[in-house]
Symmetry: C2
Subunit: 231 residues, 2 copies
DNA sequence: TGCTATGGTGTGAAAAATACAATAAGTCCT
DNA sequence: AGGACTTATTGTATTTTTCACACCATAGCA
């Protein structure tokens, strides 16, 4: 084998940390591997990138095969390429995270998985490959990004209450002290891109909360006026 | 060729955006390509990753071959993998940026280059491959990172004046208004990890400035007390 | 010695962040 | 109908941070 050929004895994959928000908590979607290596272990959903496929497309494909969802928020985080990270050869992987709204779809295990299931973050341990490290990086990235970009909304249904939104931030940021309710509402409403729907919660055994939704146009306007999202 | 084999008809490279600060300006080190494709064009220094080489090691190697420097600040930024980004095959590239102190070394063009030269950012245009896009990503990253981590010092000699430091920030951030001198000094000194050397500038035709240096231990202490670097 | 260039310093006003608690609007139960 | 329960909603006073701003000091040099 020539020297040049040896450079091409390698492959790349994408792995996707899929975040969801359910039961008041941040969760991630893991698959149980159906094939060696690490057969039976929990792992991040991922796949090799096809020869004629862009990286972002591959990450979208993995997500769609698993959830049926398209057009959700997806962000490249970091590439992991230790020489021995994959037991079968030189495979580097490009890690992505995505944010999905758990309520409106059902998980259908793709070909590469026996089983797919939502996990609470605190229950996750001992994943296949270097996936724990990948998860850490993505979680760290998420924590930063939710404070500097209006991403939280991607994890909620189109209409949500301010309490749900705050609970989401409390869960994602996992700070020693919860955010102050009054200050949180003041701040997020003052940015002016949450619009009050003409609706309230239904079926709750207490005072129903107003529903709000994220107005993308108003957010663009907010940016154009020179402001920055910052929580 | 089997389907599995086709996944391995690919390679990966690293590309390095090397930032330096000289003549009061932010600069980047580019090479003029000595071989096809894009022979003669200016490009980011980069190379294929060896089969038994970690990604970070490859980025360090590229930097060292070009500058002779080791142990400088290096950070992975993003991976670029469009199907057609490389005319000779499927090659994805992992982009890094590094920060070097221009004053203490000389550039020695490596094997992959005819010529290496520092460029002012405003003079850079029409690089080989997708290197303009890579540069944009790295510059954006640098602008964010210098405000949230004590990276600026990596671009300066060990002893520097506060004016030099501010000039560096003005140059990197490139804001419509320069930073205010008094507020800048107040803020950076209040963090307490810049220590005054027992020296002043020499050979300047005006009042000589005090020299300061970055004290890593004091910075750790600053972090342990729960503070965050933020400019 | 005076001209020129950059170094170095403090204060007041405005804006933003923070801490904090009482009333409102529903359901559920008796 | 009334009371208990649960979560929703709202404002103010204090502290902290940010911002705007101008003058004297100290060196080299002619």
């Amino acid at each position: 084998m020539s020297e040049v050929e040896s450079f091409f004895k390698s492959a790349f994959s994408v792995d996707n940390v899929i975040f969801g928000f359910d039961e008041g908590e941040l969760k991630i979607l893991l698959i149980q591997r159906g094939a060696a290596p690490y057969k039976g272990k929990w792992a991040l959903p991922g796949d090799l990138v096809y020869p004629n496929e862009d990286l972002d497309d591959a990450a979208e494909r993995v997500l769609e095969q698993l959830t049926g969802l398209r057009g959700v928020y997806l962000e490249q985080v970091k590439t992991f390429g230790s020489v021995n990270r994959h037991p079968l050869g030189r495979v580097i992987t490009i890690a992505y995270f995505s944010l999905v709204n758990v309520s409106n779809y059902t998980v259908t295990p793709a070909s590469f998985a026996q089983l797919a299931k939502w996990h609470r973050l605190s229950d996750v341990k001992d994943l296949a490959f270097d996936h724990n490290e990948i998860l850490d990086s993505c979680l760290k990235r998420l924590k930063r990004k939710v404070r500097t970009a209006p991403l939280g909304f991607e994890l909620l249904p189109p209409k949500f209450t301010l309490s749900e939104l705050q609970q989401l931030y409390d869960s994602v940021l996992d700070l020693p002290k919860k955010l102050d309710k009054r200050n949180f509402r003041k701040k997020i409403l003052s940015m002016g891109f949450l619009v009050e729907c003409e609706e309230v919660q239904e079926g709750v055994p207490h005072r129903p909360a107003k529903l709000y939704s994220f107005d993308k146009e108003k957010y663009e306007q907010f940016l154009n006026e020179g402001y920055v999202f910052d929580l």
